[in-house]
Amino acid sequence: MQSIGSNNTNSGNVTDSYNNTTINITDQDNQIKQWLSPLTPQYRHQSVQNARVEGVGEWLLQKSEFREWRGSRGVPGRTVLFCYGDPGVGKTHIRLVRKSPGQQGITDRQRYQLLSC
């Protein structure tokens, strides 16, 4: 038993083999994620999302270029969209643009799809 404990420093509270396995898997997933990258974009994502004002940037969804980009059948080379502009014009918030909830005829699912391209 001692050897198991020394190989797995996070298993101090483990009482049976089922729990032991679960903890090992989670441990390894976290290890792999750390191995993949030390960057943590999710924190930035949260603050961008909190700062955004509903409805701003909706014009983008109407643009023919945007519609072409997110169209279901990707034409080779046209699946890449580059939004350019000067600092502070709101490029960072572009990817969170979605139709405002008040807009008629849009289901939650469609709204989500807009958000996720």
Binding site: L39, W59, G74, V80, L81, C83
Partner: protein, 173 residues
């Protein structure tokens, strides 16, 4: 949707490998991604002392698996904030990753001067000039005014003036 925000204050850590690694972390819950990543991780662990993730491995994993997912959108924000070398490597890697994957979308943002670099790797990329419209500024101002901590300090006339002058002055569109 997998996103990354480039930041000029973090250029050292924002290498191409770490950026693509962060994209993989976000896609990791998918079995199609998890399995090859676990395999690469185990291989790297077998090297004495463990080996860091390598760019070609990450590119290959993404390249081989992204087309299997329903639809992935990779967003890289503020390309201009990463180092030139990183940016070029990243664009080249993305080009390789999405080449055979018509379902995948890439959304890039950056200052105008990086457009030439984007076009070098994605000559057919769709470009949109981004700037707030007067409508955007109106929505934003309304929101800010509704949160004014001392609303009585401003009369209607001033509010009307703010709403008409600022959107016109700021918006280039």
């Amino acid at each position: 949707m997998a996103s990354l925000y480039c930041d000029y204050q973090d250029q050292e850590q924002q290498s191409t490998t770490n950026i693509l690694g962060a994209i993989l972390v976000q896609l990791f819950p998918r079995d199609e991604i998890r399995e090859p990543v676990q395999l690469a991780f185990r291989k790297a662990q077998m090297v004495s002392g463990g080996r860091a993730a390598r760019l070609p491995d990450l590119v290959n994993i993404l390249k081989a698996t992204i087309a299997l997912l329903p639809r992935v959108c990779i967003c890289i924000d503020a390309l201009d904030e990463c180092l030139l070398e990183t940016r070029l490597k990243l664009l080249k890697s993305l080009e390789e990753i999405v080449k055979d994957s018509p379902n995948t979308r890439v959304l890039l943002t950056g200052r105008p001067h990086v457009q030439d670099e984007v076009k070098r790797y994605f000559p057919k990329a769709i470009t949109i000039f981004t700037a707030p419209t007067p409508g955007d500024i109106e929505i934003y101002l309304k929101e800010e005014l509704s949160l004014d901590p001392t609303p009585t300090a401003m009369d209607n006339e001033l509010e009307t003036k703010i709403m008409s002058v600022i959107p016109e002055k700021i918006s280039p569109m």
